[in-house]
Symmetry: C2
Subunit: 368 residues, 2 copies
Amino acid sequence: MTARMEKSHAGAGRTIISVDAMGGDEGPATVVAGISYSAKKNPDIGFILHGPEDVLKPLVAKRRNLHGRCQIRNAPDVVQMEDKPSHVLRTGRETSMWSALESVRNGEATVCVSCGNTGALMLLSVMRLRKLTGIYRPAIAVLWPSRNPQGFNIMLDGGADIRADAKDLMQYALMGTSYARNGFGLTKPRVGLLNVGTEEHKGRAELKEAYDLISANARNADFEFVGFVEGRDLPGTLCDVIVTDGFTGNVALKTGEGIASLISALLREAFQYSPLSRLASVLAYTSLQRLKKRIDPRRANGGVFLGLNGTVVKSHGSADATGVSAAVKLAFELAETGFTEKLAARVASASMLDQDAATNNSDNGETE
Amino acid sequence: MTARMEKSHAGAGRTIISVDAMGGDEGPATVVAGISYSAKKNPDIGFILHGPEDVLKPLVAKRRNLHGRCQIRNAPDVVQMEDKPSHVLRTGRETSMWSALESVRNGEATVCVSCGNTGALMLLSVMRLRKLTGIYRPAIAVLWPSRNPQGFNIMLDGGADIRADAKDLMQYALMGTSYARNGFGLTKPRVGLLNVGTEEHKGRAELKEAYDLISANARNADFEFVGFVEGRDLPGTLCDVIVTDGFTGNVALKTGEGIASLISALLREAFQYSPLSRLASVLAYTSLQRLKKRIDPRRANGGVFLGLNGTVVKSHGSADATGVSAAVKLAFELAETGFTEKLAARVASASMLDQDAATNNSDNGETE
């Protein structure tokens, strides 16, 4: 419903994305280049761009395809990468990040995109947008490259909160499958719960409890629960959505990035090794570029904050224009489908199930 | 000291390695091929090979270079990959795994190599070899490929125990640096404590406490503590030894394997894409083989159980002959340096520091 409202706000049938122009490592020119690229590709997007007006105005003016499609909201301050989230919450009212979230809060946009400080963005999002009714812990959903037909898997939590109990993990399953359906068109996502390999180790109490809760919600929430999965399934084909606590998820995410960058460095060395291998790298150039694109973190870029009144897409701090544009594309797709509303409905219906399961209440709460 | 005893047992100045011939996915023929390969490369290794005599005898007889260097110990039973560790502990006296550990227990060998069921091997190792005095939780040390001069980093715990409190993590630092010194000749290893990125998240109480304990032991134990590190540093160059609990460590390990195998699958596809890229793959063949060798998990293969009276090298279940041989090589190097004794001395001296630093030193729960 909000999606409709926001469209009428735009006055041109466009879906409006609220964009924080500041805080990325590459600066506002890169963000503007990214949204201009998106504007070129998709005539249905409009933007509200937040940052110092004197900086943004000339940048936007240079991009013809943004004319009439990009409002600028003046916000003189910038959240720095090293700023403590709690400090930003106290003093950040004049920052572009705060302003960008405000446009979602007041309904001008349904999705916000920022490349800024993750911790600050998460805390501001939670405090300003508020958690959806019934949500215990919001989560960051991140994408892994995979050989599944959709080209990647969704993992959450990627680092919003270092803790997660059984109920949180169950809600992550609901949020993750909702995201998979609305953002990527999977009809019946397969969900796995991250654990370690051997039987004897399947001992973390909250994981056993989460197993039962997720299992109990699978049919009603229309996903398939494949049970416990391992680290290798994050980029694997066994499931589409993997749930875990934010500590484990963040370590796994960074580990994957580390291995990918090690391999690409070694690959570069391998191709420099001899005249023959240098020739080979020229011949294989197109194929290798295709591969690079496939596993490029800038493309599988948008970490998405789920469980709030509004959706926030966190782009990589070092995202270039391509990365920003990928995040905008994802934001657009989520706004178009009315994702937040669907997610809220899903959680509301499942929370009741959860209460039934947890308290052994016999009255039936299986309303859809 | 044990190393000397075992040498005299061998009667030929050889270092004896106790090898479980069974339990690997590839069967005993592969294990025998692996130790034969090691025997060819290194005249100073001898073997005690455990498994069903009627199976092993013909396999060994076919390998000339094993003649006079490989005793066979009959053990009719085999621990299966799906056996529960507790079940193996109760009923596994006749298994090759049990027998292989027995040779370390009675001093015939100082290091045992097995490709079998990790959980069972860990439990049997702890129960039969016993923990070193002062050790709270033994750990599995695993290797990550890296661009450090030694070619890899050591991480522990790779999955021996899903829990680890501050004292355990401090001991992992001591064990890991001892391993780095004795197995790989690093004089002053750099140690990192695995955590997640943003400041606000550095909140797990046991990690802050572990930070202080490790820091307090660094000078005395002659390592450099680099502080908190992230997942991307596991295959990075910031440190040589990374400590974490066995749950996080195991997830990271499997994630790394998953990403590496995804990339190599995509790379194969990329090279099959066009006639030009197929030609390129022929030209770059040698360089790519070199890269493959570098990141091949079969080579960085030996997970090592630390903190026991004797060392146990766990080879990958799916190890081929090359993998078995790599595990044997590592076992040989650890046996040669009298690693267990040095590790015991290191822990003994640091435990005192630890007792000074912390108050509660009563018998720590060793529940499995």
